[in-house]
Symmetry: C2
Subunit: 346 residues, 2 copies
């Protein structure tokens, strides 16, 4: 692209409010010295929060006033009907109009997906968009989708998710030939429901440009058995929230255990640097941003309860996606998939 | 019961072999001084493993020779057709014949469920049995089912799981009025698929003797929002394995972090007692035994990769279930449910 990469930010939608978004921006700015930003939200409030930085950043940062914000409890359908003057709506319109390359919001996920579908549309050949996230794993991180956009998924959708997840892994994680697995309750071909079996059959037998591993189980996500793990949005959402809960419980156990005796407390003090680095690796705000895949435009959802650290990670992710040109890659793969599917239809 | 409580043990089915089972028995024996045991398996091998203990335990321990063992990779249908002379088969027959109160096996889960259904049958009014497990939680542990017996579940089955899980929580966890939630991807009534919505409708509106909380999310399991969490066997299996994987990854991070510097290593040494107690709380072998619910007899599945510690926990659980008379409680609740359902059918 000829102009500089531009990120459109919904500054109002998060639980933590616009001050968190402004702190996140302060973290992101030095990391990406050539990227520009459009902040959508309450102009007076944002101007105040930016303070002296506003003048300094004038060449890279534009504030666009939006009088309202989508609330966390708003129904997606209602938000879509009455959302025209919200910061979320306008942050997506910036992408639609081509003045930004990617939108980032920490707001209501359902409303963000509904508005994204309305404005950007779904990619040709993809039945429904999905939300992907990066799960921490033994080898770094792996791509996991769908984590909540589609409660029930047929085999065709699961195959689409495989295509989208694989393209994302190449574009953003820089993997040349990522491996893909379908989440199941056993590795054997006979396990699971019809949807996962049919999807596996297509991925195994059609002439697709995908390194399909087969079925994987829940523990294979953190064990990094494959680079991309595909599942329906119900199972995926439950899985990430259960893992998050487990991590939180372990952190509680650990704090409790290390407070129990004087030597344990002393030990915890000496090991505090190491334990702090552990906490940052487990930080769910770093991992659990949602990446919208399958749309004709780029949108990243930062975790609703996200802090500035998490929102800044979501901005990083948004920039990686725009630079990696995820959409063109999905489009090319999708064309390959349809070519590969033809023998089945003949 | 007039005679002493008796546990029937499949000594051969585990990955770790019969020596693990014998070590587990050595742990369990002093904890339950009045309980008797029947060990099914290779008589020569078991006699050798028991050594001098055999004569000492003669009044409490019987060995029953079984020439074969079900293998982990055997298909359940095949194991059922050709399993007559296996230690697993015979351990269940001991329960069927009334010479034991409960069976414990660390073998092939599918084969164990198939044989249990064949010999013991399903309780009247229950459509399909389920496998429950105890998940570690902020307040101790909560009951989670189904974790793998039923890949697809309709609303009726989910209601059955609620009944069975609640009865189990009263019988074994000693809770007077356990709360029950259905796992979903949001707390709102409109979320999720038809099955969870219909099951919630029944539990909310029919006149059932169950403290129904409503929908819960994945992180509510460890957060102990309710005492019993109900889901289908696909989602449940993925959830426990994902949580197990997360716990394992965190342990790896922790070990790595505490080895990185001299002060961290010294700290870890001083805190080693505390960290050891943490490890034992996270020990999946203690938590992940599978409890078969909905059968006309009691069967406990110890984790396949279980060590003696885990298998001994499964024996503890089996004894708790027999003493708590889980089956009578499920039967009584089920009768109440059917009475409560009548207005719907009228």
């Amino acid at each position: 692209m000829s102009r500089k990469l531009t990120v459109s930010i919904d500054a109002m939608g998060s639980d933590a409010g616009p001050s968190m978004v402004v702190s996140a921006l302060a973290r992101a700015l030095p990391r990406h010295p050539t990227v520009n930003y459009i902040l959508h939200g309450d102009e007076a409030e944002l101007t105040k929060l930016l303070g002296r930085r506003k003048a300094k950043l004038a060449s890279r940062l534009t504030i666009r006033h939006a009088p309202r914000a989508v609330k966390m409890e708003d129904k997606p359908s209602l938000a879509l009907r009455r959302g025209r003057d919200t910061s979320m709506w306008r942050s997506i319109v910036s992408v639609k109009d081509g003045e930004a390359d990617v939108a980032v919001s920490a707001g209501n996920t359902g409303a963000l997906m509904a508005m994204s579908m309305y404005h950007l549309g779904v990619l040709d050949g993809i039945s429904r968009p999905a939300i992907a996230c990066l799960m921490p794993s033994r080898l770094g991180q792996c791509v996991f989708l769908d984590v909540g956009a589609n409660v029930e998924c047929d085999a065709r959708q699961l195959v689409d998710f495989a295509v989208m997840g694989e393209a994302f892994a190449r574009a953003v994680l820089g993997l040349e030939r990522p491996t893909v697995g379908i989440l199941n309750i056993g590795e054997e071909e006979v396990k699971g429901n019809n949807e996962v079996r049919d999807a596996a059959h297509t991925l195994r037998n059609a002439n697709l440009p995908i390194e399909f591993y087969g079925f994987v189980e829940g523990n294979d996500i953190t064990n990094h058995t494959v680079d991309v793990v595909v599942t329906d949005g119900f199972t995926g959402n439950v899985a990430i929230k259960t893992a998050e809960g487990a991590a939180k419980l372990i952190a509680t156990y650990l704090r409790g255990a290390l407070k129990r005796s004087f030597t344990a407390r002393l030990g915890a003090f000496l090991a505090s640097g190491a334990l702090k680095s552990l906490r940052s690796r487990l930080n769910p705000s770093a991992a659990n941003g949602g990446i919208f895949l399958g749309l004709n435009g780029l949108v990243v959802k930062s975790h609703g309860g996200s802090d500035a650290f998490g929102f800044a990670s979501a901005i990083d992710m948004a920039i990686d996606m725009a630079e990696g040109d995820v959409i063109s890659r999905i489009r090319a793969d999708q064309a390959g998939i349809n070519a590969g599917r033809e023998p089945d239809n003949a």
